[in-house]
Amino acid sequence: MGFFENLAGGFVVALSASNLFYCALGAILGTAIGVLPGLGPPATIALLLPVTFRMEPVSAVIMLAGIFYGAMYGGSTTSILLNIPGEAASVVTCLDGYKMARNGQAGKALGISAIGSFIAGTLGVLGVSVMAPTLASFALKFGPPEYCCLVFLGLMMAIYLSEESVLKGLMMGVLGLLLGTVGLDPVDGTPRFTMGFNRLMDGVDFVVMAMGLFGIAEILCNLETPENREVFKTALKGLLPTLQDWRLCWASVLRGSILGFFIGVLPGGGAIISSFAAYAVEKRLSRHPERFGRGAIEGVAAPEAANNAASTSSFIPLLTLGIPGNASIAMIFVALMIHGIRPGPLLLQEHPNLFWGVIASMYIGNALLLALNLPLINFWVRMLKVPYRYLAVVVVVVCVIGAYSVNNSAWDVGMMVFFGIFGYLLRKFAFPASPFILAMILGPMLEKTLQQSLIASGGNFMTFLNRPISAALLLAAGLLMLTPLVKAIWKKQKKSV
């Protein structure tokens, strides 16, 4: 059977009344939980899992997948409006999205993120339907050494996330790496820096920390200067991005989609790394990098496109290798297992209807999400008209519930408050929080893959250079590291001439 016949068969499955309903339900639920910080897609999918026991396997996956990619649409909303990342992958969106909202461009930021998400999501599905089997072999080429170098490259990008001082950015990066070592040693299981707290054995929860560092810190800062409220005067007209904006960022959306798609194929943290990477690339390529961090529309478009494309392509390792790349995909894995379907290299032959039905539903789901999210923009922007003294209380309550729901524990609420105060202090002394977060996510991955590589190679560091992909990644990291230095020398020479 040809590709188009397969896909047509998939659409027949996905367009049946019940599957269309489940697709819409998933998309709506996904948007809703994406907007709420804390309660992420994995928890929601877990709650709904018992419901899927009685559903057709393909309907179950269509609904759960809808929740997962729908959350990527919703996740940017609170980042832009309130500086609270609703999802791990939308931390970067806070950087410029929130600034745009403060400049009265909330509608524009939300619009570009919805439309960018739609374009990226659709391109992603197109990529999955055409390239899934090929990409599976690409993912197979990624062993621990390749991951290790990719993560290292990601860390180098932290340089581009620091708004003002590179030195401060690096300091925060190192601090993040240190915090990432809290918990059990990944190889021998020794507890490190847990100070006797059992709760710290699994390290510090990243979502909770991000809510504190961004959300709570933001509120503390705003309460300090009451006149700040004036800034939230948002013009309701000009909600959607203009032609001018599109000229600025169509290429960013495209680059973000491609980057997100390929990084998303790799199991483990794909969506998060890709959003950071897309932001770094845009800042690097921009002729006016100083606009980034001050409300650059490309700084919203690229990472949003990247995290959507990545969430779509993260289905590839599940459907073709049986490897769940993140917690949400793991829950979808469970849903299939309960029905006795084991995803893996044989899925495409044994259950073609399931494979193509799910892919077809993603085309439909993305279109539904765009239709759902564009009208919502108006509503969200109006919300900013609520006086900040009321809004702040609501936001704190939502954050507390969100932090509690991550692990059902009050410990996490305490952690969020702690990091809120820490984030407030960081701002007072103008230290950027995003390199800290990036390093803290990537640190444990770096450590684990480094150890795996070295154990497997018998302690031989050449393993990183002998493998073509890891060598190329290291080279890229090296170049990235050197650019600020070269730039500085270049400038000096220019001056002296």
Partner: protein, 313 residues
């Protein structure tokens, strides 16, 4: 969105019902949701077990039984949390055989003395696999190389369910290997297929898709009898290491539901009855069959003994 409030509502109900629970007549139990805390992430074998039990036992007891994932430290964090809850039977814990390594690894002081068993649901079949085109072609060659001590082997975590059988085999042979931890059974199996390591240890079901698509070759099962998988017969470890005959039981992994000791016995009995009826259901039997999981179905005191034996080996 409504579900966001469930923890809050549960908590409120919990607080209101605390004074009531003390005076309520014992025959009316349970009257509110029973939480099953699982110390592993969603999607793993333990999580799936929890969800199957939640569905079946919840129906039989007439209350909801939400599964809560509290990940970390090979489930020691979750175990500690459950241990701190009131002894009213409303908090259960998913016990995997990895718990029996806690005294050795120092992750927790809690043992079979602190936790009793409702029942053991699934056993598992630790399977040693190599890449399909690996120079190691059979169990005998693998054992020789383990004795020589120059192999790397993947598992799902140090002290975890698949590291234990690796250690037992290596010790029995007087050999060694370098353990490389991955993030779960399927990933551990894939590592051998990708030749990142020389052999992998995971559940047979986790390696199955790679075996069928000729990426992995199963060489040994950690059991005392061979396993027949369609046209492949996988020999047991006892064929190669005769000294292990009769000593397998303590090292075999299992997945079970437990409770912190101190709960009134009639409540434990109700839980055991619900567990038994779930195990007898078609859903569980079919799930076990499709996923190649051996059903154990040991409950109460019988299961306690298996837990105790595992901790002592």
């Amino acid at each position: 969105m409504k579900r966001k409030w469930i923890p809050v509502i549960t908590l409120t109900l919990f607080m209101i019902s605390m004074p009531l629970a003390a005076t309520a007549a014992e025959e009316k139990w349970p009257t509110r949701p029973i939480t099953i805390t699982i110390g592993f992430s969603p999607g793993g074998g333990m999580d799936m077990m929890g969800r199957l039990l939640s569905e079946g036992m919840g129906k039989s007891l007439g209350v909801a039984m939400p599964v809560v994932n509290m990940v970390g430290a090979n489930s020691a964090i979750a175990m500690d949390h459950v241990n701190k809850q009131p002894r009213d039977g409303y908090n259960l814990f998913g016990i995997s055989s990895a718990v029996s390594t806690f005294p050795a690894t120092g992750l927790s002081k809690l043992t079979y003395k602190d936790f009793g068993m409702v029942g053991i649901m699934f056993g598992n079949l630790a399977t040693f696999c190599v890449a399909y085109d690996s120079p190691i072609k059979n169990g005998k060659e693998l054992v020789e190389r383990l004795k020589k001590g120059d192999l790397t082997g993947s598992n799902s975590g140090i002290g975890g369910m698949w590291h234990v059988p690796q250690l037992i085999v290596a010790n029995a042979l007087g050999g060694k290997f370098k353990a490389v931890p991955y993030t779960g059974g399927p990933t551990s199996a894939l590592a051998a297929a990708k030749k990142e390591v020389d052999f992998s240890t995971s559940d047979l079901s986790e390696a199955l898709t790679f075996i069928k698509s000729k990426m992995l070759r199963p060489l040994i099962v950690f059991d005392d009898k061979p396993y027949v998988l369609d046209d492949i017969t996988i020999p047991p470890i006892t064929d190669f290491v005769p000294t292990m005959k009769g000593k397998i039981a303590g090292g075999l992994g299992w997945r079970a539901l437990g409770y912190p000791r101190g709960i009134p016995q009639d409540r434990v009995n109700k839980l055991i009855a619900a567990f038994k009826s779930t195990m007898a259901s078609g859903t569980v039997k079919e799930f076990a069959k499709k996923n190649l999981l051996p059903l154990v179905d040991a409950t109460g005191a019988e299961a306690d003994k298996i837990f105790e034996a595992a901790t002592q080996t």
